[in-house]
C-alpha cells in the first residue's frame, strides 16, 4: 500500500509572545516543529506499511528549512519526502491544490494521511480539500484505522457520535491525536535517515504558477492575556485560606 502523509512545519505556538508595541504575535525566531498530529499520521502510515508493505512518502508545502524537521519523519520510518515551496500569501486553496497535484504526480497512491488539523491554525482544511480535489472518499477524525489491500475502514470521532466508515482505495484519512503514540526514532534510524531522499518539486512543475489565493489576510492582531499571577505555596492551610478570601472578595463565592 503506497501512502502519502501530508505534514506541516509549524511554529511552536506555546512559544509565541505578543509584541506590546505593535500588538502583533511575534512569529520570527520561534522554534519550529512538525505539527503534532501529523506525527500521529506518520506513525499510522508506518503501522499500515508494517502490515501491508508499500512505500511512505512525506509531502510538505513549506520553506526550505522544513527539510531538517522532515528528516525526523524519515527517521521514524517514512521512505522518502517531497518538499514543495510555499508561495507567498498561499492560502488553503493553494496549499491543498499543490499537495493534490503532488499526489497525482507521484502516482499509484492508495492512501493519503493527514492530521485532523495543524496546531498553528487548527482549520483542518487540507485533508478534506485534497479529497475533494481528487474526488476521493474522506475518512476524517479517525481514531482507529484498519487497512487491507485495496480498502480501509476507520472509526471516526464526529463529536456527538462515532461513525464507522469504509472506503475503497484511494482514499484520504485524517487522524486524531488519540489514534496512536508516535514512535521516537532510534539513533541508528536517525543516522539512516540521512540517506533517504528529500525531493524538491517546484510550483511550476505542478502547473500552479500564478494561482491566486482565495482568502487574503487583512490583519493579524495579537491577543494578550493579562492575569494577576498570584501564587501561594508552602503552607497549604494558609494558601487555601488566602485563596478562599480572594475568591470571596471577587464575589465568586455567592
Amino acid at each position: 500500500m503506497n501512502i502519502v502523509v501530508c505534514a506541516k512545519q509549524v511554529v511552536d505556538v506555546g512559544e509565541i509572545k505578543v509584541n506590546p508595541s505593535t500588538n502583533k504575535p511575534v512569529l520570527e525566531g520561534i522554534p519550529k516543529k512538525i505539527s503534532d498530529i501529523d506525527k500521529n499520521a506518520v506513525e499510522e502510515a508506518i503501522r499500515i506499511k508494517e502490515k501491508l508493505g508499500g512505500k511512505i512518502t512525506v509531502m510538505t508545502v513549506g520553506p526550505p528549512d522544513a527539510k531538517d524537521k522532515m528528516k525526523e519523519l524519515l527517521a521514524m520510518g517514512a521512505d522518502e519526502a517531497v518538499l514543495i515551496p510555499r508561495p507567498q500569501g498561499a492560502d488553503y486553496h493553494i496549499v491543498s491544490k499543490l499537495l493534490s497535484k503532488g499526489i497525482k504526480k507521484l502516482g499509484d497512491v492508495d492512501l493519503v494521511l493527514c492530521g485532523e488539523a495543524s496546531i498553528d491554525m487548527f482549520s483542518g482544511q487540507v485533508g478534506p480539500r485534497i479529497a475533494g480535489f481528487l474526488d476521493w472518499p474522506q475518512l476524517t477524525y479517525s481514531f482507529k484505522v484498519e487497512a487491507e489491500a485495496g480498502k480501509v475502514k476507520a472509526c471516526r470521532n464526529m463529536g456527538d457520535r462515532m461513525v464507522v466508515t469504509e472506503a475503497s482505495c484511494p482514499a484520504v484519512l485524517t487522524v486524531t491525536k488519540e489514534i496512536n503514540e508516535p514512535r521516537l526514532p532510534s539513533l541508528m534510524q536517525i543516522l539512516g535517515s540521512a540517506r533517504k531522499p528529500i525531493h524538491d518539486w517546484t510550483v511550476s512543475e505542478l502547473g500552479m504558477d500564478g494561482e491566486t489565493a482565495r482568502v487574503l489576510e487583512r490583519d493579524l492582531r495579537g491577543v494578550k492575556m493579562e492575569r494577576k499571577n498570584i501564587v501561594f505555596k508552602d503552607d497549604l492551610d494558609e494558601a487555601v485560606a488566602q485563596l478562599a478570601e480572594r475568591l470571596a472578595k471577587e464575589g465568586l463565592l455567592g
Partner: protein, 331 residues
C-alpha cells in the same frame, strides 16, 4: 423546477446550509446571514439537507430566510461526499456570495471539501463576520489564542464555518413569507459507506454556558478521584465539571461535553479552577476568556500558573479537601 426566482448571473445573496437535525445552529447562521444580506440588499437562501428536511422549511423562513431549498432528504446519515456533491450543484445554480456552514465536525469536513470542488476560499471558525466597505470580513482565532486573523475573500463564493453560539438566533416572526423549493439531486455512487453510527455518551453538560467551572487534568490518578472536584463544584454552587483533552479523549473518565480547549469547548465562566492541569497552550486556548482563573498544581513551574490569577502550588489531593472546607465556611 417550480420557481420564479431568476437564476443569477452574478454572485450575490447569502446562503446558509442547515442539516435538519441541527436546528439551533441553523437559526444562528440565519440571523447572521439576515444581517449581512440586509446590509448588502441581498437575499438569504437556506439549504436544508437531510431526513425530514422539508418539515422545517417554514420555520427557517420565520427565522430570516427568503428562500428555502429542501434537498438530500433520501440521505440516511450525513456524509461529506454526498452533501458536498449536492451543495456543489446548488451553489453553482444560486451563486451566493457567501455560504455559511456550522463548525461542527460535520461542517468542518464538509466546508473544505465543498470549497475545493468550487475552487473557492474557506474561512474556518469565524466568530465575527461583518461588512466593511465592499468586502465581507471574517475574524478567527489563530495560534492557539495568541492571535486574531482578519480575513477577506479574493473570489466568490466564499465559504465560512461558524462555531456554535457565535451569534444569537432571531426570534420567530410568524409574518415572514418566503419560497420553499424542493430540489432533488441524484446522488452519485460513492466509494465510501457508513457501516455503523453510535451516539457518543454524553452527560448533557453545557460548559460553554457555565458560570463556574471546576476542571480536572491528568493530575488525577484515577477516575474515582474526580469525586473530589465534584464535591468542590458542589460547595461552590457551580456544579459544572470541565477537563483537559486526555481526560475525555484518552481516559474517557468524562464525556466529551466536558472537554475544554482548542479542539474542545471554548468556555468563558466567571471562575475557572484548573486542578492537575499543566496548562499547555491548547488547553488555555479554550478557557483564556474566563473571568478569574485559579490553578492547583504540584509543579511550581507548570505553565498553568502563567495563565492564572491565583494559584496554589501543592498536591491536589491535599489542597482540594482543604479548599472545600475553607469555601464551605465562607458560603
Amino acid at each position: 423546477m417550480p420557481r420564479d426566482w431568476p437564476k443569477r448571473a452574478f454572485w450575490g445573496d447569502i446562503m446558509v446550509v442547515v442539516y435538519s437535525d441541527l436546528k439551533r445552529n441553523g437559526f444562528e447562521l440565519l440571523s447572521k446571514a439576515r444581517e449581512l444580506a440586509d446590509k448588502r440588499g441581498n437575499k438569504v437562501c437556506a439549504v436544508v439537507i437531510g431526513k425530514d428536511a422539508g418539515t422545517q422549511a417554514q420555520e427557517y423562513i420565520q427565522r430570516g430566510a427568503d428562500m428555502v431549498i429542501v434537498t438530500g432528504s433520501s440521505m440516511e446519515h450525513f456524509n461529506a461526499e454526498d452533501v458536498s456533491d449536492i451543495l456543489e450543484v446548488v451553489v453553482k445554480e444560486e451563486r451566493p456570495e457567501i455560504v455559511l456552514i456550522a463548525s461542527t465536525k460535520d461542517g468542518k469536513e464538509l466546508a473544505p471539501r465543498l470549497a475545493s470542488k468550487l475552487d473557492a476560499g474557506c474561512i474556518s471558525d469565524a466568530n465575527k463576520i461583518y461588512v466593511d466597505g465592499d468586502s465581507i470580513l471574517a475574524e478567527r482565532v489563530v495560534y492557539s489564542g495568541n492571535g486574531i486573523a482578519v480575513e477577506q475573500f479574493g473570489s466568490f463564493p466564499g465559504i465560512i464555518t461558524v462555531p456554535g453560539k457565535a451569534f444569537d438566533p432571531l426570534p420567530i416572526d410568524p409574518g415572514r413569507t418566503g419560497e420553499v423549493v424542493n430540489r432533488d439531486i441524484v446522488l452519485k455512487q460513492q466509494r465510501s459507506s457508513i457501516v455503523d453510527v453510535q451516539k457518543m455518551v454524553s452527560e448533557g453538560v453545557n460548559v460553554e454556558e457555565a458560570e463556574k467551572i471546576v476542571s480536572c487534568g491528568r493530575g488525577f490518578k484515577k477516575s474515582d478521584d474526580l469525586k473530589l472536584i465534584e464535591e468542590l463544584a458542589r460547595v461552590m454552587n457551580g456544579n459544572t465539571l470541565g477537563c483537559s483533552r486526555p481526560i475525555a479523549a484518552d481516559l474517557k473518565w468524562l464525556s466529551e461535553d466536558h472537554w475544554v480547549g482548542l479542539s474542545g469547548h471554548k468556555v468563558k465562566p466567571k471562575l475557572y479552577i484548573a486542578c492537575g492541569i499543566s496548562g499547555q497552550i491548547q488547553h488555555v486556548a479554550g478557557m483564556r476568556d474566563s473571568g478569574i482563573i485559579v490553578a492547583i498544581n504540584k509543579d511550581a513551574d507548570a505553565p498553568i500558573f502563567n495563565s492564572a490569577d491565583y494559584g496554589i502550588v501543592g498536591d491536589l489531593y491535599q489542597v482540594i479537601p482543604k479548599l472545600i472546607e475553607a469555601i464551605r465556611q465562607k458560603m
